[in-house]
């Protein structure tokens, strides 16, 4: 086996002080599909960005085909034969497939782009590698799977021998995933080397030859996949056996806290995103809204929490309408909200931990007199909250932006969960954070439920949905297609059928989500 790429002792620290790659070493052979596995935040994307010249490391050596190299820009990477398919596509929607493929090194006729030549090149490459696309189609009109294929062709045209795919299947349907795998195997057989990032272990087992495991910014080692079980890999990824069981008593729901009736919402393009959604959340229960991304749950939760305006219907918190009213009013009524995007909404990242936890409690008589803040009480309680929520910081005066993702999330959670709320909207509360922090947050959610808080959970993580929630509403195409009053008998498979629109319940069954008249 000939080594094509080697990284030694590489360290990358981001501006916010996060040590994303810590003494990372990896060796990749020519003609293999090499998986990189690790939890969210393990530093996989960072390593790939370094290899593609998008980030500069502090330390470490990179060798391509035995030669030491410095990769200072993506164009340098391309010259070395390294290509990358990004998690977010870098295509121009208004251009055709062929135009996108040649963008940046267009075949010319005079000063004009030679469109025919562009189409020809695209088709030739497509034929050679079994990557069929219609070169004349507009990128805006093609599916996500095809866009990805265009990205791959683009990289190949630029002479990529090593192809980096960062979580390519995250956006694909299972059919598209199978096709992608076929294409990748074909490329490997043609002599290309593929770095494949995923945390879906089935995929890794199905596709790859070897796997390098990353955890907390470090590489733990590279292993032959043959003879390695999924649970072996996952144990190494998280550093211990994953317990996704959450200890909780069955819920004993009380009165209805939030009552949503006939909510509708049209997107700016006039598409009906939410179509008559009704349900109730009672005190002491965790209700989960589940659905494949893009089926209305994003819009729904933003309408309820006031981040988005313009919907029809009603959402009442103990009888008071929330839709169309300022967030301030909802908060005063007792709503707390963990937003899905912590950097956009969740924190003021240039302010201190203390500042961020206090926000939302500034009118609390414990922390402010008629005019001035009670500094002593603020210092004491904010420090205590930071500690209680195990925020890892040097002090509560540290800038929030300097913390890691999981710790920033804990700051958000510390604030929202100490709000004396009667309704907690938890929108992807554990996305992109380490297992320890996730487990902690889930436990706190259950504790709040037991204390009688009504909890509306929105999560894309099916396991979390099943383990954490007491009942589930499933959205498909903006409609409620299923309601399960008890999640204990429900399986991920069954949920999948409803989420993908394969099955749907009768209107009477769906009515079950509505408890009060």
């Amino acid at each position: 086996m000939e080594e094509i790429l080697r990284v030694e002792h590489l360290t990358k620290v981001y501006e916010n002080g996060i040590l994303a790659n810590d003494n990372v070493s990896i060796s990749v052979n020519r003609g293999e599909i090499h998986a990189i596995c690790g939890e969210n935040g393990a530093g996989k994307s960072t390593l790939m960005k370094v290899l593609f010249g998008l980030e500069q490391p502090e330390q470490g050596d990179i060798f391509v085909k035995g030669e030491p190299v410095r990769i200072q820009s993506p164009s340098a990477a391309i010259k070395l034969g390294i290509g990358m398919v990004h998690q977010h596509f870098m295509l121009v929607d208004r251009l055709t497939v062929a135009e996108n493929v040649v963008l940046g090194n267009e075949p010319r006729r005079g000063i004009l782009i030679d469109r025919e030549a562009a189409c020809r090149v695209t088709e030739e490459l497509g034929r050679k590698y079994n990557l069929e696309v219609d070169p004349t189609a507009l990128v805006a009109d093609i599916s996500v799977g095809l866009k990805q294929r265009v990205e791959i062709i683009k990289a190949l045209l630029r002479g990529a021998e090593i192809l980096i795919l960062d979580e390519p299947t995250a956006v694909l349907t299972s059919q598209e995933t199978r096709e992608l795998f076929e294409e990748l195997r074909h490329l490997r057989d043609a002599g290309h080397t593929i770095l494949f990032i995923s945390h879906k272990l089935d995929e890794v087992k199905a596709l790859c030859n070897r796997v390098t495991i990353m955890r907390g910014g470090r590489t733990l080692g590279t292993y032959e996949l043959e003879g390695l079980s999924k649970s072996d890999i996952s144990r190494m990824m998280v550093g211990r056996d994953v317990v996704l069981k959450i200890e909780k008593e069955p819920a004993s729901p009380g009165a209805v806290e939030l009552s949503v009736r006939g909510v509708e919402y049209w997107s700016e393009l006039g598409k009906k995103m939410i179509d008559g959604v009704s349900f109730d959340v009672r005190r002491g229960e965790i209700l989960c809204i589940a659905g494949v991304e893009g089926n209305g749950q994003r819009e729904l939760v933003e309408l309820i929490t006031g981040l988005r305006s313009g919907g029809a219907g009603s959402a009442k918190l103990r009888g008071t309408e929330l839709l169309g009213r300022p967030i301030r009013a909802a908060r005063k009524l007792g709503m707390a909200h963990i937003p899905s995007d912590r950097m956009v909404y969740g924190v003021a990242s240039s302010q201190s931990v203390k500042f961020n936890i206090l926000a939302g409690k500034v009118e609390d008589a414990r922390y402010t007199g008629k005019l001035l803040f009670r500094d002593r009480a603020i210092d004491r309680d904010m420090e205590a909250l930071a500690r209680a929520y195990t925020v890892k910081c040097t002090s509560a005066d540290q800038t929030v932006g300097m913390l890691s993702g999981g710790n920033i999330q804990k700051v958000v959670v510390a604030r929202e969960m100490s709000q004396e709320a009667t309704l907690l909207v938890a929108d992807q509360p554990t996305r992109g954070i380490d297992v320890g922090a996730a487990e902690f947050i889930r436990r706190r959610i259950v504790e709040m439920r037991d204390a009688g808080v009504a909890i509306l959970l929105i999560t894309a993580d099916l396991n979390e949905a099943l383990e954490l929630s007491d009942s589930i509403v499933i959205l498909h195409g903006g409609k409620v297609v299923a309601y399960f009053a008890d999640t204990r008998a429900l399986t991920e498979e069954e949920m999948g059928y409803y989420m993908l629109g394969v099955k749907s319940q009768t209107p009477e069954e769906v009515e079950g989500a509505v408890h009060a008249s």
């Binding site: 201190s352 001035l372 803040f373 002593r376 040097t394 800038t399």
Partner: protein
């Protein structure tokens, strides 16, 4: 106070022994100082370093320029940097110049803290001077009360003007920067119109107003110099109140939150309207008062013929003070000192005082340029991060 704080930090350590390990040995105990000031960590330490380096570089380059253009460079340098401290007259000049800078510095800090780039302070300062002048000519009040009445009126007028860009921004998301720049001309023209057409003293040669009532003029600290007791007291009060407002009240909290992240401010249910409009109104009040204080301290009749430039200077002061009213006096003193120093140098050795603009420009550029010393900052961050990683390893 001190006793409480040290007692408390000891308590923290007792409760959380592991916090001690993670803590930076150079920084002292956590929680020291307390309250809701700006974050204190590697970033704030770095910002201080950056400011000092910027100032040193500015001064060094100025010195080089002086060496290049002056026949007597050493003497010029001495006048420039030591001159203002050599005689009481010069020193009072520094203080007289410092006062308007304190007002506009606080005014600009208030709206910059909320990320509202409202520069109407320039126009409002002028307008406030006019309002105070008119009130000082037309009203009759007892001695102690009269100037404060004029100043109050100017402050109110300033608040009303400051509200205009604030409201337009809040209601229609109109750029407060563009509107404030245009408002400056409006303020100037309206003020000149009022003075020219209604209060011009035709017996005086230039375009100046009638004399103020004697009762309206502020009393001097020392008869020889123009620094006024009322001006000093008001400037100090404005700094103190603005500081308390910004760092010790919930309204100031919302202003700072808005400055850091507007989405966050809305989402946490803080008062966004206040943050946007209130910060600009208060800024206007302070700028208006500043104009009035200047008018009633330095003059006995309105005699400005052009915008004063103190509003723009306020931007420089605010940048040096990091938008914190507590640091405004020092920043204003620094700028005033440089200006007077350059003036002395010009009068004594003929080196143009525009040299001070060079220092200012260099320091401002260095301060606002994100990437200045970015490598140093990055090294500090890397050092901290790798050290934490090693500590974590030892603990594990």
């Amino acid at each position: 106070m001190h006793h409480d704080l040290s007692g408390q930090s000891a308590g923290n350590e007792a409760l959380n022994p592991s916090a001690q390990q993670q803590r930076d040995p150079h920084r002292g105990p956590a929680g020291k100082g307390g309250g809701l000031g700006a974050p204190r960590d590697i970033n704030s330490r770095f910002e201080l370093i950056r400011m000092l380096v910027a100032i040193l570089i500015g001064i060094a380059i100025t010195a080089l320029v002086i060496f290049a253009v002056s026949d007597t460079p050493l003497e010029s340098l001495r006048y420039m940097f030591i001159g203002p401290a050599t005689t009481p007259r010069y020193f009072f000049n520094v203080l007289e110049l410092m006062l308007p800078l304190v007002f506009t510095g606080v005014a600009i800090s208030l709206c910059f803290s909320a990320q509202q780039f409202n520069l109407t302070a320039e126009g409002i300062f002028f307008f406030g001077g006019m309002v105070a002048a008119v009130a000082a000519i037309t009203t009759k009040l007892p001695d102690g009360l009269h100037p404060f009445f004029c100043i109050l009126l100017a402050g109110l007028a300033g608040g009303v003007i400051g509200a205009i860009p604030g409201l337009l921004k809040y209601r229609w998301n109109a750029s407060e920067l563009v509107i404030s720049l245009m408002l400056n001309y409006v303020c100037f023209s309206v003020s000149m119109y009022v003075i020219k057409n209604h209060f011009r003293d035709k017996d005086a040669g230039a375009i100046v107003s009638y004399l103020f009532e004697k009762t309206a003029v502020l009393d001097k600290v020392v008869a020889k110099y123009r620094l006024t007791t009322g001006g000093v007291v008001l400037a100090a009060a404005v700094c103190l109140l603005a500081y308390l407002f910004m760092y010790k009240t919930r309204w100031g909290f919302s202003v700072r939150a808005a400055g850091a992240n507007m989405n966050f401010t809305r989402y946490t249910g803080l008062n966004v309207a206040f943050a946007v409009i209130g910060s600009q109104v208060l800024s206007g009040v302070v700028a208006g008062m500043g104009g009035a204080v200047e008018m009633l301290s330095m003059f006995t009749r309105f005699q400005w013929a052009a915008l004063t430039g103190y509003g723009w200077d306020g931007v420089i002061v605010a940048i040096f003070a990091r938008n914190n009213p507590r640091h405004v006096p020092l920043a204003a003193l620094f700028l005033a000192y440089l200006r007077i120093g350059a003036d002395i140098m010009m009068r004594r050795t003929g080196v143009q005082m525009e040299i001070v603009k060079v220092i200012q420009a260099i320091m401002i550029v260095l301060l606002v340029a994100e990437s200045f010393l970015a490598k140093t900052r990055h090294r500090m961050v890397v050092r901290e991060a790798t050290r934490e990683s090693i500590v974590a390893e030892e603990v594990a």
